[in-house]
Symmetry: C2
Subunit: 352 residues, 2 copies
DNA sequence: AGAGCGCGTGGGAGCGCTCCCAGCAGTGAT
DNA sequence: ATCACTGCTGGGAGCGCTCCCACGCGCTCT
């Protein structure tokens, strides 16, 4: 009713006004807003009515200031990785994060940590505890960022652990299983001289895919031929280069497992130019099940990662971590740092 | 030095502490932090030194509370548009936004406005003035969201105006020019019976592409054949359906301009199945210059939109708008609402 | 009947900042 | 010497919340 004093901002209702309206104290309204159990049903109803009538929405800034939490998490995007950014990976993950956040009051902040200046800013940002938690995607093995975050005691979840003993909580797809099933599939098709173009081996997940390739060969009793493995870097150009090298070295290869669809696209070009037909002469399998795979000619068999799901799980894990902390920030000694691994799935198309 | 009182949060330095260290008052430090000109050089230097020594970072929540601004803008993502989300459009735009924001203190918030519940939440969010401005992407003609935002007086920029007289500031690519140059290119190749599969015509940009197609025909003195235009919906399935209808109706067509690459991919399938070779029998041009275009067989000629640039321009425009406002929010009467249009570019490949 | 307990509750004391109003020199005009 | 006036500066008064202490009330337990 009575417009408060000088009526500064043109009038969003405040806690105080709601309290007056409901005939209770500020503290009580706060308790209702925050779902404290120690409010009588009658009072709660009265407050809720007042909130509805006034269209009250809590002021986040004030809450953040008083409670020393932000109700926001950050998704840190290593932007120079144009590759990462351009691929559906990113948007799918974002969708997962969005889904997980939908039932929450949490806000999502996007922070780009491309160049050094941006990383500097990020460091400050985190140091100032301006987010409750951090989601890290696609971090390189030698990136110091995760350790910095860990040191600051900020809850964080990383997608794609940097190594087998990643200290941070992590969510990953089963790269080993993916590489293994792709290779096993080729073996099942009767292929025996199966080449492999790896990803960037400074990415742990890429190593795991290669490990999976080896596992499948071993399981089938096929002796590994070092000459059939050629390093790539996830790029199309890398795929071309690697494929050319492989053809030169082992012209009798009858299948290729590429560590990404883009790599497979590069390999396909070289195979075509060399007059090899796909899949008759050479079967081809990619990784990621991206748009490229579906639209390639012939459509590319590929390993699908549950990326959206990964985003969801990461977010859930992070929310759990942030919730666990003491009201007045103190990182509990023995929080478990779960290493979640989600299954992949082979999508069979005409290239194999 | 002296740890402040009970030393609550484990100790980020505050303005007060910086002031003490520099031997000045709180107000002066605030002035320095905010770049006020009315501070003597000596004082400024002293304060800056103290800031550096203490590693002071301003507390955003406190600032937001006191100054009634948030230093954050929101990118509103209409999530149910899976199409939109999955395409590079989104990530490219995000990159543009990120670039523009890099030199700023502004933070980027991602808000999903998929279902009704999320939109509800968004409305509340905006009503509470929790962001200084809004970036809107890919909004449908009948979406009430922009009008709501305009009513609240929140600065906003929309990508892809909803109509020719969009009241909000907008940034768009030259859809008319794109459609025109794609069609003109086909004409230049000697094609005369050029079919067109439209996008969703409730999207203004799609209409404009079709207008461009008509313009190019008119300019070449080719009489338009209504039977050569078939509505699509940007999807692959829509492309297939439309292409089938076109082939049935005008089997002698010699070119197709599709309103999106995905649509073109659908069309290509049907053309192949009908035994038409590309580009010999039928030339094909798409729109978006997506990964699909590059990897199609044959690689697809397509119209490239400067999406990253659009993101950048949108953000700049928005920042300008937010800066223009009076310190104590009052939307100036006659802010101009610029309608920026960025040029497209035809990327020629083997499909035409 | 009195002490003790626990549940609901009100409201003071901040959180760290910005805004703004005085106040204090120093300068030039009267 | 007095009086504006200007250029910097200090610090009070909030911003709207959360936290927490203290208080009152109705019970149960001796």
């Amino acid at each position: 009713m009575a417009v408060h004093g000088r009526g500064r901002g043109g009038g969003r209702p405040t806690l105080e006004e709601v309290a007056a309206r409901a005939g209770v104290g500020r503290g009580t309204v706060s308790r209702v807003i925050n779902g404290s159990p120690s409010v009588s049903d009658a009072t709660r109803a009265a407050v809720e009515a007042a909130v509805a009538e006034l269209g009250y929405v809590p002021n986040t800034a004030a809450r953040a200031l008083a409670a020393n939490r932000t109700d926001a998490i950050a998704l840190v995007v290593p932007e120079p990785e144009t590759r990462f950014f351009a691929e559906p990976y990113f948007s799918e993950m974002l969708r997962g994060v969005g889904t997980a956040l939908a039932d929450t009051e949490m806000q999502l902040l996007l922070i780009f940590a491309g160049n050094d200046r941006e990383r500097q800013r990020l460091a400050q940002y985190l140091a100032a505890h301006r987010v409750d938690g951090v989601l890290l995607v696609s971090v390189h093995a030698d990136d110091p960022l995760p350790d910095m975050i860990a040191e600051l005691g900020i809850p964080a979840v990383i997608s794609g652990p940097r190594s087998a003993d990643e200290p941070l909580a992590s969510v990953d797809s089963d790269n080993h299983g993916g590489g293994r099933s792709a290779t096993a599939h080729l073996i099942g098709q009767g292929r025996r001289r199966i080449a492999h173009i790896t990803g960037r081996l400074d990415v742990y997940g890429a190593q795991r895919r290669t490990d999976g390739y080896r596992t499948a060969l071993a399981e089938a009793g096929i002796e590994e031929d070092q000459g059939l493995v050629e390093p790539g870097d996830f790029s199309e150009e890398g795929g071309r280069r690697a494929m050319a090298a492989l053809l030169e070295r082992r012209p009798d290869l009858d299948a290729v497992f590429a560590a990404s669809d883009v790599t497979a696209a590069g390999a396909r070009q070289v195979l075509r130019e060399a007059g090899r037909s796909i899949p008759d002469d050479v079967a081809l399998v990619g990784y990621d099940d991206s748009a490229i795979a579906r639209h390639m000619d012939p459509p590319l068999t590929s390993v699908r990662q549950p990326i959206t799901e990964m985003g969801r799980v990461m977010t859930d894990l992070l929310l759990e971590q942030t919730a666990v902390r003491e009201p007045r920030r103190r990182v509990p000694a023995g929080v478990r740092r779960p290493q979640t691994v989600l299954p992949t799935q082979l999508v069979r198309r005409q290239s194999s």
